[in-house]
Amino acid sequence: MRRGWQVGCVCLLGVFAGALITSLSYSLSDNLGPGPGFFPFWLSVTGLALTGAILVQVTSGRLLADAPSDLWPGRQAALQGLAVIVALAAAAVLLEPLGFRLTLLPFVAGLLVALGARSWIAIALCAVGGSFGVFHVFYYWLMVPLPIGAFGI
């Protein structure tokens, strides 16, 4: 846990530092008061100070003295988690080129298999329902525009 917080703090420091530098390129004050860069600048400064303090506290042991240490997910969970992320990313990339139905059919089917579902019938039904079924409901009944891809589907 402590390692996790340390890593988190370092990432945060990076984010705040980046924000600080970017906000300097927006004007800090205006003839009416704070300019566009004012709040981001001071928020970044505050963020850096807070995160620095947390890092010190964690490293010196004053914080999280009682926290559990083993947080890494098991191998199966990690692989499945990766599958989820990759599937989501693929869906995002393919959604407009391939269209909603053709993207979500393999998405649902693939993820169900990756997470350990076994019944082929259930998987097939869910995949078709989740892609074609959902599309029909949203596009034709609820008038929510969903992408139709290059193949006209």
């Binding site: 003839n31 596009y139 008038m143 139709i148």
Partner: protein
């Protein structure tokens, strides 16, 4: 010999493509069309869009789905419109001069220009209106302008957004009445204006007739002037700026439909015909009238010219706005 064959082959292909293309266009539309509104649901543009969509879809035989892509004062929606495939299945509303100012203001960093649109047909022309609370000390525009000259930069004047048509209208007024200076308060939309005027947090509002006509008629608020050449038929008792001696203060917000650049002419033509018919339909006319929104159909060339004129005018005042001490 082979060259002749190749040439014939090529010609046949070209002919087939042209016929096929024309065929495809003749069968347009074959699936629902998306009509984008660059503002959130419930606003003036949105209401008028939904009315015209519900009538046009009957003629087209396919649904016309209104899609709200609000945000960044319309910039998000218009950016999206110019990036869509020019196949006639995605068209959208452009609001002049708002679309123009987004293009013209370098701060906005718009990635589209005025050349990225094919204007199809204009629906609404909503003239500007200066209004105050019913019990305000300003009974006429003259009162207002005198006060603005006597105490420059103290009269809190509300717009519906930075570089909106209202903002530009205020600058036009300042130009026409040298010495008058208003303290600009940029709010977000007409509802916010109503609230702040009622609460007494701002003194006068520049907006459009369509947003507030019903309340002027009922007496809840007082209209000082209409920023048009002729009086609004919804507010016959409110004088125009022209009558009051400020003929250069003409400002209005128009809403029309455009397609992304490159949309084939036959499709544009069909859309124009269908939309015109829809806009002239008695249901459409009645509903818009009930809501106090004035129809002004401008098509093709006329609309394109109006776009160019508005663009030029907006350019002048956008420059001015950027150089004005208090934006």
């Amino acid at each position: 010999m082979s060259r002749l064959v190749t040439a014939t082959f090529a010609a046949t292909l070209a002919l087939a493509a042209a016929l096929g293309g024309a065929g495809a266009q003749q069968s347009y539309p074959t699936r629902p069309i998306q009509l984008m509104v660059a503002f959130p649901a419930g606003g003036s543009t949105d209401i008028a869009a939904r009315i015209v969509a519900s009538i046009a879809e009957k003629e087209l035989g396919q649904s016309v789905v209104v899609v709200n892509k609000g945000g960044a004062g319309g910039q998000i929606g218009w950016t999206e419109l110019t990036r869509q495939r020019p196949d006639g299945y995605y068209i959208g509303f452009i609001n002049l001069p708002a679309t123009n100012t987004v293009i013209l203001d370098p701060e906005r960093k718009a990635i589209f220009t005025e050349k990225d649109f094919v204007p199809i047909i204009n629906q609404v022309l909503d003239p500007g209106l200066i209004w105050v609370r019913a019990d305000s000390p300003y009974k006429t525009v003259h009162d207002l302008i005198e006060a603005a000259k006597k105490a420059p930069n103290t009269i809190r004047t509300a717009t519906t957004g930075i570089l909106s048509d209202d903002h530009l209208a205020i600058l036009m007024t300042e130009e026409a009445a040298p010495g008058a200076l208003f303290r600009l308060v940029h709010l977000e939309g007409g509802a916010a204006q109503l609230k702040e005027i009622m609460a007494g947090n701002v003194d006068v509002a520049f907006d459009n007739v369509g947003s507030i006509a019903t309340r002027v008629k009922s007496g809840e608020v007082r209209g000082l002037a209409v920023l048009d050449e002729v009086r609004s038929k919804f507010l016959p008792d409110v004088p125009t700026m022209k009558e009051l001696g400020y003929p250069t203060v003409i400002s209005s917000s128009t809403r029309g439909i455009a397609a992304p650049k490159g949309t084939p002419e036959p499709i544009v033509k069909r859309l124009r015909e269908v939309l015109k018919k829809a806009m002239e339909h008695p249901d459409h006319v009645k509903k818009l009238e009930d809501a106090g929104i004035a129809i002004k159909i401008m098509e093709g060339e006329e609309y394109a010219r109006y776009f160019a004129d508005t663009h030029a005018k907006a350019k002048k005042y956008t420059e001015w706005a950027r150089n004005r001490p208090m934006r």
